[in-house]
């Protein structure tokens, strides 16, 4: 089994102060990644499956108070592999 991706990076950073607990991010997320707080009006949403994010940015785009920022992991900014690695199967 390969030790593929680090699954811990959280791509969806929610500013607790700005968030108005409106569940829109939960509703628009195409991957069921963001789950509204248990008490929707009080608890902030939870990024439940961060490793499954598409980086589509629908949540960031839809947030009525701009409380969401998409943050890319180091491995996307500075990739660990090259295309040649993938073709050679290293």
């Amino acid at each position: 089994m390969t030790a593929s991706s680090d699954r811990s990076h959280n791509p969806i950073v929610i500013d607790d102060e700005l968030c108005i607990r409106c569940p829109l991010c939960d509703i628009v997320c195409p991957g069921d990644i963001i789950i509204r707080g248990e008490r929707t009006k009080i608890d902030p949403p939870v990024v439940a499956y961060p490793a499954e994010c598409w980086y589509c940015g629908l949540c960031e785009q839809s947030c009525p108070t701009s409380a969401i920022t998409i943050v890319f992991p180091d491995r996307m900014i500075d990739p660990p592999l090259t295309f040649a690695d993938l073709v050679d199967g290293r």
Binding site: T2, D26, V28, P30, A51, F72, M76, P79, P80, L81
Partner: protein, 579 residues
């Protein structure tokens, strides 16, 4: 966790997948008076599917006075555009339906023209013989058609994965579906069904090793293709891969827009190399650009850069906005990376690959359909990127309309639907419940990583007999691992369903790639058979047999439905058998 609630539903037409194809199919079926239920894994139809976040062009034939703007004129080029490997009968139906479907979509409220403008902004792209693409601000395209679906009286079931389809005595009976968050189960009786779950992703690795950070929607995992195989349908063109070019590290849209503006491709030496590959340079067909970047990289001339610094100031000023329409997060990625496009060339790379349409308009990979959208199984239809004719949202819309209307009229002809087969429904349900057995120890992502590692190495950009044989063995061995897959909640259970479908698609791809002993551009490159072989001017189909996948062949330009009842090819020497 699973099935604490069991809901029973009944509909004339069940639509599996609520992207563009599924939504337009729903509208067509409603217009025929059929009751419709749309199932989608996303949270709301308004934002679900491949273009839930927006889209910026629509391939349209509008029958204006322009000579090229007629269906027949476009059809005359399809054979050349697809290297003669496409079901012309189905493409023809799709193209001839386009003008009407375009107006129908416009009537839902989609604004294809800027406010106050009396004509469409159209441009020529992707090697097509006319300016067919309508440029428009499609940020709300999906929201608008989803609203029309709701207004039409169709029902929808979102966050729902259709896990199984059931037939009784050769007739469709219905489906088992699961809410991917609550685990509630649905027993859905249906007289007809439209499959529209899109392409196959998460099947290969990218340079960031981020399996979900993909170019196409990572939640499209070949669900329809796998169900079609189970029902006895035929898949075709499964050997071909599709990849794109994006900023290194982020498999995304955007380079098309930059190329369209006139960006230059540079190699490590700073050479504008595209003219080595095509006299049109950067204006060559898209698949030529991708092929050239692959060759240049493998020859050691990478990294490759896109340079826009020579563009006029007003275009540079808007360049972020241009990129943002197709993929909202690209400007943020460049900011975090510290790249300013107006000041420096940006490094680009080849993305992971998916199974969709081998980078070629109309040449889809997936479920074989006929000109009515039917898949060779009574009452079952398919449309969009999961079927063998694929042309972006235009193809999805036109075929969606055709499939939805056909499904509705089939449902109308059936006096009553069949009861769901109780025993098979129960075993489908039990299979989901077993995923929670604590003796199971393998996570879906370990399983998927193993698929991706094998497929990327041996079924990818460069293929050989040795590698493909090894891949087939490993992919077959992974099937044994499926009984070890463990879910802790309904969400994970739905990912396991997807992972199992991805493995089935990997198997189909490996079998097809091993069988086609020739090379067809970079979408199927055999290092041991590096040339095009004319004897291979034929389509390769796959059907589930008693001992694995059966291989079928048919005429390159169709009709591919000829493969539905045909006998499997027993020999490994398949070239020339389909003509």
């Amino acid at each position: 966790m699973i099935g604490e609630q069991l809901h029973t539903l009944e509909t004339d037409v069940l639509v599996v997948g609520g992207g563009v194809a599924g939504c337009i199919a729903a509208l067509a079926a409603r217009e025929q008076g059929a009751s419709v239920l749309v199932c989608d894994k996303g949270g709301r139809l308004a934002w679900s599917g491949s273009v839930g976040g927006g889209v910026d062009q629509f391939l349209a034939v509008l029958e204006t006075e322009e000579e090229w703007d007629q269906p027949a004129y476009l059809m005359a080029s399809v054979s050349q555009l697809t290297d003669g490997l496409v079901d012309l009968e189905v493409v023809e139906r799709m193209v001839y339906e386009l003008p009407r479907v375009f107006r129908r979509i416009e009537a839902t409220g989609v604004r294809f023209r800027d406010k106050g403008a009396d004509s469409y902004m159209r441009h020529r792209a992707f090697g097509l013989p006319g300016a067919y693409h309508v440029d428009f601000d499609g940020k709300k395209f999906k929201q608008t058609i989803a609203r029309a679906v709701r207004r039409s009286g169709a029902d929808d079931l979102t966050r729902c994965s259709v896990v199984d389809l059931f037939q009784v005595d050769g007739e469709l009976a219905g489906a088992l579906a699961m809410n991917i968050r609550s685990g509630d189960l649905y027993a859905i009786r249906a007289k007809a069904c439209v499959l529209a779950t899109g392409d196959v992703n998460r099947i290969s690795r990218n340079v960031s090793d981020m399996p979900f950070a993909t170019w196409h929607c990572p939640y499209n995992t070949g669900d329809a293709q796998a169900m079609a195989l189970s029902l006895g349908g035929v898949l075709a063109n499964m050997e071909f891969i599709e990849a794109t070019l994006g900023p290194t590290g982020f498999s995304s849209q955007g380079t098309n827009a930059l190329t369209g503006l006139g960006a230059h491709y540079l190699n490590r030496q700073g050479e504008r190399f595209m003219f080595k590959y095509d006299p049109l340079g950067e204006r060559a067909r898209r698949s030529v650009l991708v092929d050239a970047v692959i060759s240049e990289t493998l020859e050691g001339n990478g990294p490759i850069y896109l340079d826009v610094r020579h563009l006029p100031a007003h275009e540079l000023a808007n360049i972020e906005r241009t990129l943002e329409v197709d993929r909202h997060t690209v400007p943020g990625f460049l900011r975090q990376k510290g790249v300013v496009l107006a000041e420096e060339p940006i490094e680009i790379s080849i993305s992971e690959f998916s199974i969709r349409r081998s980078g070629v308009y109309f040449r889809g990979s997936g479920v074989v359909i006929d000109a009515s959208g039917q898949i060779g199984i009574d009452g079952v239809y398919a449309a969009g990127d999961c079927c063998t004719v694929s042309a972006g949202i235009a193809g999805a819309s036109s075929l969606g309309w055709i499939a939805g209307a056909s499904a509705a009229s089939y449902a109308k002809r059936r006096t009553s639907g069949a009861e769901l087969p109780a025993a098979r429904f129960a075993s489908g349900r039990a299979a989901l419940e077993e995923l929670f057995d604590e003796r199971r120890t393998t996570s879906y992502w370990e399983f998927e990583d193993a698929i991706r590692e094998t497929v990327t190495r041996d079924v990818g950009f460069r293929r050989s007999e040795e590698g493909l044989a090894r891949a087939r063995e490993q992919i077959a061995a992974l099937r044994e691992m499926e009984t070890e897959l463990r879910a802790h909640d309904a969400h994970e259970a739905s990912r396991i369903v997807e992972a199992v479908n991805i493995r089935a698609m990997a198997e189909a791809m490996a079998v097809a790639a091993q069988t086609r002993r020739e090379t067809r551009g970079s979408s199927h490159y055999r290092v041991d058979y590096p040339a095009v072989d004319d004897a291979w001017n034929q389509v390769l189909g796959l059907r589930r047999g008693e001992s694995g996948l059966e291989r079928l062949v048919g005429p390159a330009e169709g009709p591919w439905k000829a493969m539905w009842g045909s006998s499997p090819v027993e020999t490994d020497d398949v070239a020339g058998q389909g003509r």
